[in-house]
């Protein structure tokens, strides 16, 4: 079982290293969207500090959306996806491995960049710590939930837009609890509740979404 996971993760990371522009696009998108706000809204540190958690979270959400389109589509087009479905392995496990690789390539860099962008928007040390932790807990959930949408919209014309319409509403709870953690810390009400809920989302989506995505992939292949 673990060998399937390691084979798939290594395969997807190797493929991404051979074609780094795909990963870089969503990363630069994240940086650019965040750095537009000081220019567009206001360079005042007080204003920026208030909106920073929301800005970084929304940008992370959109960057994830951008990269989700390619989660299965390349494998779908060259026929490796139908081979995966026919392998004597659990498809849900292969999906979970693909999503893990996807998160390591697109979610983890967002986590690493969050403290820098937090500084740029004038967040304090404690705020940055909490925000980075919410991104760390939240982005895997985005990748996992997004994989269902990516599987359902495979081979559909205009699938990218449809994917956003399907998936963005499902991201709303993550966004609320992610940004809420920073404001409730500032309000002095503690962050445990937000982190528990984000953790619960992560555990639930780890358990459920691979099966849903695997089923959606089988439907898309017909």
């Amino acid at each position: 079982m673990f060998s399937v996971i390691t084979i798939m993760i290594r395969r997807d990371i190797l493929l991404a290293m051979r074609r780094p522009q795909d990963v870089m696009t969503s990363l630069f998108f994240f940086i650019i969207v965040v750095s537009l706000f000081p220019l567009g809204v206001s360079p005042e540190m007080e204003v920026l500090r208030g909106i920073a958690p929301g800005v970084i979270w929304v940008a992370a959400l959109l960057a994830t959306m951008l990269s989700l389109g390619s989660l299965f589509s390349a494998d779908y087009q060259d026929g490796t996806l139908e081979q995966m479905i026919l392998m004597p392995q659990s498809l849900a496990l292969m999906v979970l491995s693909k999503v893990t690789a996807h998160w390591m390539l697109t979610g983890l860099p967002l986590v690493v960049l969050t403290p820098l962008l937090g500084l740029l928007l004038g967040l304090g040390g404690e705020e940055i710590k909490v925000l980075t932790l919410t991104i760390l807990l939240g982005t895997p959930v985005l990748s996992l939930i997004g994989s269902i949408g990516a599987a359902l919209t495979l081979g559909v014309r205009g699938g990218g837009v449809l994917l956003s319409l399907l998936i963005l509403p499902l991201f709303v709870p993550i966004l609320i609890f992610g940004t809420g953690a920073v404001s409730s810390m500032n309000a002095g009400t503690g962050t445990e509740a937000h982190f528990s809920l984000l953790g619960a989302f992560l555990v639930l989506s780890l358990l459920l979404t691979p099966w849903a995505s695997a089923a959606a992939l089988k439907i898309s292949m017909e």
Partner: protein, 204 residues
């Protein structure tokens, strides 16, 4: 043993075939013939389990494939229209990863041996995107030289291949049949393989 029981397949609103029955015993090859659009690919994909039949069932060793799941998929090698070859991986990496996912581990020497036999020995370290259509087809077909599965389902395996490779492939299929394997294939060319070759004609 593979049994097709009263299979009915449709594409869109169009009925492709209905009441299709045949069975394939160890050592037999079934050559599926028919004009373009007669449902050859749909039949093959349904037998694999990639597509669902409208009616009827596919049985392997006496029970429906849908209930067998991974067991049936472990007995099957399917090569479809798409080669399932990653352009950014090298020829050797492609074959290695496919065999690993199929749960069959081979040393690099064995993998290179298979690739050499199918005429890719000089190109094992080239990315697949630098290969021609026929060479990519060979990367996909190299699996057949190694795999230990019993049932091979090959959709137009000869496409883009030159005469020499077609002969290697026919030899490999003949050996597979001698070992008691089963083959289901479509092609518009003549099948010149030693062994029990049955034919099925799909009409439009």
């Amino acid at each position: 043993m593979l049994d097709i029981l009263d299979l009915e397949c449709v594409r869109g609103d169009h009925l492709l075939f209905t009441g299709l029955r045949f069975s394939l015993k160890p050592g037999e090859l079934l050559h599926v013939k028919g004009a373009n659009g007669s449902g050859k690919t749909t039949l093959l994909r349904t037998v694999c389990g990639l597509s669902q039949a409208e009616r009827g069932a596919v049985h392997w060793d006496g029970s429906p494939i849908r209930k067998q799941g991974e067991y049936f998929r472990g007995e099957l090698t399917y090569i479809g229209h798409h080669n399932g070859v990653k352009e950014d991986l090298t020829v050797l990496e492609n074959l290695r990863i496919t065999m690993m996912l199929a749960g069959q581990l081979y040393s690099d020497e064995v993998l290179i041996g298979a690739l050499t036999q199918i005429g890719l020995g000089e190109r094992i370290d080239l990315p697949a995107k630098s290969l021609s259509q026929g060479q990519r087809r060979r990367v996909a077909l190299a699996r057949l030289l190694l795999t230990q599965t019993k049932l091979w389902i090959l959709d137009e395996p000869y496409t883009a291949l030159d005469v020499a490779v077609i002969q290697v492939l026919q030899q490999v299929i003949a050996e597979h049949l001698q070992r008691g394997g089963m083959v289901l294939l479509t092609t518009h060319q003549d099948v010149d393989i030693e062994g029990v070759v049955k034919q099925l004609m799909l009409s439009t």
